[in-house]
Symmetry: none
Subunit: 231 residues, 2 copies
DNA sequence: CGAAACATTAACGATCCGGTAACGGTTGCT
DNA sequence: AGCAACCGTTACCGGATCGTTAATGTTTCG
């Protein structure tokens, strides 16, 4: 279940949102004040933040700035909720790094739709990817090929997940190492090749017709079932 | 410069947007109808689409669905522009996969802020260059000539990418060597000629009428489809 | 016209690159 | 401790690729 954070001093709105969000399957954690907002978010780890602009003590815009400056929170989606709807208000809100800006009173179902939008869309967070016979389940850490399970190791799984979440994109070895192995890990390029080799073996990914992982000479690898076979 | 596509039948709004977006440094490509929207987008490769909902022939919602279903366009950001602002309209728009929904009349600066929001997080340089029948895809490391794939090697690809990203500019051999081959590489000038030769062969780039890569005697090479043929 | 300067082209061989198998270190479980 | 799974490294191989060279065309200019 995904957690959504709310910072809002209006008690009634707080309760209304709690009710509606719970009905949609979210967990709501709320705070009535912007004091210690960063700590609050670090503790609760929400998937998204609903942020009032007019708050006692710390204005919402300040909080937004602080979040964007914080390395661990920087890309958390933020939706501003504000009674102020002038052009200038909206623009400053959005330019400060908010992902969306809704003017009160807003339609509840629109808010829900926009929340979904900002939480779901990233391919690399989707719990299950299903591409041309390969089913990658990030929650169970399982891979199924035409329905039957293929057991992968952790690195193999992460590598495949990274490639599958960017179908068609050619990923260079250095990119793969920093994203799959870790930015700080000191690992040779060829480790990627070997990992790909092992993946291909487990997937029965023959160099024939419909291949999943393609080598792109001089650049790297790509997951692309549609790519023409190299002749 | 980033391209933004607009599908909108209101001429006045089209011109207004063209004016404002150009002032912000975008290039606008517009179509008054939703017919062949997918082809239109495949050709122009915009970074984002502004889409009217009420269009003659094909409704915007249909276009949105078609885009999301198309593998090469699926994650293009879409902003709906609509005169209809009811809760149901907004929700269906967003749930169909649009990234944003603005109700006409909207604040121009808010639109600009939202455009930035949806474009910014992505890569800085245009991933696909499309010049006079040549389609260079830096993400897939592919080149298509009038739609059909031409397979290039790494150096050929980098050289062509460098030339195509500066159409009309004449690039000297030494410049090309340091930018394409690498500042430190010790390579003779002639290597460039040979690489250009192989490129031309693969592209069927005859020295006749519309030529892509031109030799500029004494200086170097340039990619320029508009250049008059040397007589 | 003829030579110099420069560009085009074909062919060759060195180098680079990716596939693969084998090795050994580490980790975690029994 | 013993064992197996996992993972990064290394080395070798074959083939693709690329820079060089030299011969051939083409343009420029005295």
């Amino acid at each position: 279940m995904r957690t959504i954070a709310l910072i809002e001093d209006d008690r009634d709105l707080q309760e209304l949102l709690r009710y509606r969000l719970q009905r949609e399957g979210y967990r709501l954690v709320a705070s009535g004040t912007g004091k210690d907002a960063v700590d609050f978010l670090l503790q609760t780890h929400p998937a998204l933040l609903l942020l009032d602009i007019m708050l006692p003590h710390t204005p919402g815009l300040e909080i937004c700035k602080a979040i964007r400056a914080h390395p661990r929170l920087a890309n958390m989606p933020i939706i501003f909720l504000s009674a102020r709807g002038s052009e200038a208000d909206r623009v400053t809100g959005l330019e400060l790094g908010a992902n969306d800006y809704l003017v009160k009173p807003f339609f509840m179902r629109e808010l829900l739709a926009r929340i979904k939008l900002h939480i779901l869309p990233r391919n690399d967070q989707e719990p299950v990817l299903n591409i041309s016979g390969l089913e990658l389940d990030r929650e169970r850490f399982e891979l199924r090929r035409n329905g039957e399970k293929v057991s992968l190791t952790a690195t193999e799984f992460r590598l495949l997940a990274f490639l599958m979440s960017r179908p068609g994109r050619v990923c260079g070895r250095s990119e793969l190492i920093s994203e799959v192995w870790g930015r700080d890990r000191d690992v040779a390029d060829r480790a990627v090749d070997v990992c790909v080799l092992r993946l291909r073996q487990k997937l029965n990914d023959a160099p024939e017709k419909p291949r999943w992982i393609h080598s792109v000479r001089g650049f790297g690898y790509t997951f692309d079932p549609d790519r023409a076979i190299q002749v």
